[in-house]
Amino acid sequence: MVFSNYEGIRIACIAASVPEGRVDIAAMADDPNEDPKFVKSFIKKTGIAGKHKCGMDQTAADFSYTAAKQIEAAGKYTPEEIGVLINVTQNPDYRTPSTALVLHKRLGLSKSCLAFDVNLGCSGFVYGVSLAAGMLMASDAKKALVLVGDTLARSRKGLGVDQRSSNTTLLFGDASSATLLEKDDASRLTSALMSDGTGHKALSTPYNAWKHPVGPESIPSDDIAVFNFTINEVPALVEEYLTKLGAEIDGYDDLVLHQANMMIIKNIAKRVGMPMEKVPVSLDRFGNTSGASVPLTIVDKYGSCDENKEVRLLTSGYGVGLSWGVMEVTINTKDILPLTYGKDRYDDDYPDE
């Protein structure tokens, strides 16, 4: 593993936002063209009973904006204090510039700031926070914002059996999150990160970028390769990380895993020895929300929590790349804000025709 140690940095606040539009998977069985057995089996196998999906008039940046503004409104930062803005997404507003620049403008941040996009998915939260922590540490800035979000569910096509491009599209939900980091002498952040590019084809959208400028919008993933990767590599990394920290799994209040599907979540939890009562699930109502899934699950569990208590969470994101990471998060529940349904939109004035 690549173990990172960031002295004097803490996670100060977490927020998440999802679209108002909801899809009820079970209701799909009402479609006369749909096979009700398939719908039932899908819900059972994946654990996904519903998810949120935005229209073509919103992007991941809009939900990241909503989440960041919520943190600002809670009095946790002023725009001048942000010196690092990292936006982790696979669904940027533009090919160039980074969407982080548009968000820099929308959030009214100062010039004394660095801002860019990072292209990662499921491992995005752990990677993004690690990267921002390191850059904040070495700088004269006070705070950093890490925005993680994707709109993998958003599609021109409907989800009906005759419209959807594949059953895989049913897995995904749209969501974004914002995480505030700040300097604090009494704290430290650590993480363990790994990558395996030999698995780059397991989860890939190879077309419409620069190698193959024209092609289908999506191709099937290698589900077996992904499954084997998750159940072998993730528990191994958790083990290695805990050993390095001298920590035990039962020292954590929760194990928050990337919400890929129930079978993967259950298998990882079992292999690291965490009982399912301590493994929160947001997948059933939000689907697989890519990089935002870890912070979204934290917000889903603690966002509306009235108690003022410190929780110690062990988080892990894993997937596309292949890329995976583990990070412990110690945070007071009052710094985990309630989930919002993002209404923000952005008109950039570029005509469609």
Binding site: N5, T59, Y94, R95, L114, V118, L131, Y207, G321, S323
Partner: protein, 356 residues
Amino acid sequence: MFTEINNVKVIGMAAAVSPEWDSISDLSDEDEATVQRFIKKTGVSGRYSASPRQTTADFCFAAAEKLLEEKQIDKKEIGVLVFVTQTGDYRLPASACVLQYRLGLPKECICFDVNLGCSGFVYGLNVLASLLSNTAVKYGLLLAGDSSAREFSTRRKQREGHSGNWLFGDSGTATLMEKTEGGRLQFLSQTDGSGYKAIISPYGSWRNPDSPDGRTHYVVMDDIAVFNFATAEAPKQLNDFMAKTGTTPDDYDCLVLHQANLMIMKRVAKKSEFPEEKMLVSMDRFGNTSSSSIPISLVDKYGETEDDRTVKALCCGFGVGLSWATCALEIAAADILPLVHTDAYYKDGYNLDDQV
């Protein structure tokens, strides 16, 4: 925002382009007088463009392989790979992961792409340095570059105006950083997102998937806004950096600016009180090479140098975003490799023309 990172040093640099150089006259359908005016005004007399199947990743791969071979680096000790580009191979995964595989780097390696252009090399060094300094990793690789000229030139007959397809060159670079006592890197980084429209590819992503004419891979540039920004902010940042670090132009062997256009560069050099002789120019033969432009200028100047001097370069990348950053680089001339030429590309099995 000022950043200081200790115990890191740049110990190697390489750049790769395709084997064939095109002059502007070769590329242009315009009359000779127009071509000569373009050359005179922009400073670009020609550039390298990728071969039909090549991407930025292919150039970065070639540069990295050469660098690792020359420096005799044990690949197992490379723990960070950051790919700075606006022209990644795929929507997902990050091309850095594909490059990890191609280069045979270990799983104990942090890999991801950063979407930046002109400021990308200096920002990339900052990202790399910060990751190295908080881990036990020994070496990090920064791969930076863009290759959009290929796309432009295949559609050049449809383009209006002179810029873009002639101005940009395709390339990829590799820079090796080592965690070592006594090294130090300092950066001054700034951002102005209110200028995000100055250089933008508005269509084909998630904000505007459709474009009025069906084309989505091109960039729109507001020349005047970019000129005003660059000539005001880059010198200011260079001067602020020198004030902050207690240095003057005399302390540097060269000023290496993002190779935007000659007029901008000359003005920036003048306003930061650097004599023009100290300013490196590669854009006349390479065009605007985006995040490659600073390393390419260094390779162009020092790549063939035999002596053992240390080069002290003040580097400033500015542009798309709007994003700009300055750093002072100290690197042995012997560690800057000669330019690499390659027409090789990665056969990933996805090419639709191959699948009949």
